[in-house]
Symmetry: C2
Amino acid sequence: MIKLVVDCFGGDRSPKANVEGAIKALNEIKDLYLILTGDENILSEELKQYEYDKERLTILHAPDVISCNDTPTEAIRQKKESSLVKGFELLRNDPEVRGLVSVGSTGAILAGCVMKVGRILGVKRPAFCPILPTMTGGIVGICDSGANVDCDPQHLQQFAIMASLYLQKAFNVQNPRVALLNIGTEEEKGDALRKETFQLLKNSTPSINFVGNMESRDLLSGSYDLVVCDGFSGNVLIKTTEGSCLEVLKLIKKAFTKNLKNKIGALLLKKSVYEIKDMMDYNNYGGAVMLGIKKTVVKGHGSSKAKAIYHCIKQAYNMENNKLCEVISEEITKLNEQKEA
Amino acid sequence: MIKLVVDCFGGDRSPKANVEGAIKALNEIKDLYLILTGDENILSEELKQYEYDKERLTILHAPDVISCNDTPTEAIRQKKESSLVKGFELLRNDPEVRGLVSVGSTGAILAGCVMKVGRILGVKRPAFCPILPTMTGGIVGICDSGANVDCDPQHLQQFAIMASLYLQKAFNVQNPRVALLNIGTEEEKGDALRKETFQLLKNSTPSINFVGNMESRDLLSGSYDLVVCDGFSGNVLIKTTEGSCLEVLKLIKKAFTKNLKNKIGALLLKKSVYEIKDMMDYNNYGGAVMLGIKKTVVKGHGSSKAKAIYHCIKQAYNMENNKLCEVISEEITKLNEQKEA
C-alpha cells in the first residue's frame, strides 16, 4: 500500500477538483491510500457524492488555508493549521506516508519541501522540475526552474542526474536525452557556468545521456527530454514558453470570433483546434516535482481541474512505486564517492 | 545628408532584397546617401532595374562574404574583402559615414561593432537590443539579448539608459516603461544581481522610467516598452518567445490543411490569420541594434525581405537624424559624473 497526502485546498478549484481527482485515483489504483487535508466538514460533505473504498481514505482536519499572498517561509512556520502544513507535518513524521500532492502556492510548497521534508544526504540543492508537452506529443522536463537562482556546475550536474532518474521512474522515458540550456549549441558557448557545466555533463556518462547545448527556441521541438539550467534562466524559459503560447492562442481566439465568416470558419476547425488546446493543456500532464528531498512532493497547477489532480496523484504513486527517492539517493552517493576518490 | 552603408550580402535573400530595400529607402528619404557593399558586378546588374537618384548611391566593391559558419572574430580579422568588413572599415575611417545596416551573421556584426567601431567613452559594455511586436500592436525592446553573458548591476543600469534613449529616438516611444527581467514581480525577488540592479534602477529616475520587475510571461503583454536583463537570460527570453510562437503557428497551420473541412474553415479565416502573421512578422519592424558604440549599426533578420531591409535603413536613418549616439554619450557621461561625485 502506498500512502499519499492530498492537500485539498489552495487551488482555484479547491476543494471540489481535489476531491474528485483523489477519488478517481483511489478507484483506479488498488494499493493506494489517501489522506485528504482540509476542513473536515467541507471535505466530508464533498465526499458524500462519491463511491469509494472507505478503508483507503481518511481526512486530516486542517481549517486554515495558505494563499498565494502569504509569504512562503512565514506561512510554513506560522500557518500550522493549514491544509498544506498539516500535510507536510504528516509527511515528515509518519514513515508510512510517502508523498504529498498540492495545487497551492508554489513558494510555500518549495519552502515546505526544504523546511519540513529535508534534503537527501549528499544532495547539494533540491531542484524544481516541471514538465511541458512537446510538439511531437512527448514531454520535456526543465530542471531547475526557479528553486535555485544562483547555481554552480556541481548543482547543475546533480540536477541532470536527479531529473533523468525522475523522467525514467515517473514517465517511463528511457535513457532521457539531457541538454544544457545555452545561448548557442557549440561546446564553447556561454558564460563560465555553462562552459564548466558542459564539461561536467560530458563526463557524466553513462549516468546521464548528455546530448549537448540547447538553444531555448528548441525546447518544444521534441529533440530533448530534459533541459538542465540554473533556476533563474529556467524560470525565464518556462514562463516565456507559457506566456508566448497563450498570447498566440489568444490572438487566434480573437480572430475566430471577429465576424460571421470567421465564426463559420472556426466552427469547421473546432475539432482540430480543440486537439491543439488539449495537447497544450497541463491538465493532461502531471505536476512539477521537487527533486532531491527525502519524500515525493508533486505540485499541480493552481487552476488544475480534477483530471490534472488525478494525474498528479498517479505521478506521485509512480514515483513512490518505483522508489525514485531511494534511487536518487544511491546515484548521488555514487557520484560523491567518485568525486572523493 | 546622412550617409549609411548597406551590406548587401550575407542574408538568405541577398543581394536582391538588400538592393530593393535600399532603393525603396533612398527614394523615400531625400537626405539619405547609401553606400552598398558587395560584388560590384552583381550589384550594378541588380541596380539596373531601378530608378533612383544616382548622385546619392555608390557601390563599394567587396567580393567576399562572411557566412554564419565563419568564426565571428576571425572572420572580422581575416575576411578583409568581405562586404561586412569593408562596410565596417568605411564606418570606422570616414567621419561622414554614420551607420551600417546588415542582415549577415549576428556574431560577426557584434564582433565588428566592438573591434572596428569601438565603445562610446564611459560605456562599460555595448549591448544588443532587438525589438519584438507586442500583443497590443506596439513594440518591446530587450537589452541585452546576448552580447554580454556575464553582467553586473552597473552594466544593466547603462543598458536601461541607452535602450530607453534608443526607443525614444528610433521609434518615438515617449518615456519608455522600463522593467527588469526577474522571476517574480516583488522587489525582493531574484538573485544578488537582480536585487542590486533593482535598487540602482529605482534610483535612476528621471533618466529612466523604471516600473519594476517583470516576469517573462508578460513580455508581449504591451505593459512594458523595454526589458533589461543580462545577455544570457535575455537570449533565453527572445529565443523562447520566437520558438514558442513559431511552434504554435506550425500546429495551427498543420490543422488548417488536415482535411477538406478544415481547409474550407481555413479559407474563411485566411484574412484574419494573415493579419496575425503580419503582426508577428519581423519584416514589418526594424532590426536589432548594438547600443553604446560610436556609430549606428542595425542588424536585420537573416531572412529579411526587401521590406525589412527598408525598415532597418529607415531605423538607422532615424537614429542618426536624432543623434542617438551623441545623446547616449551625454547621458552616460552625466551618469558617471554623478557616481564620481
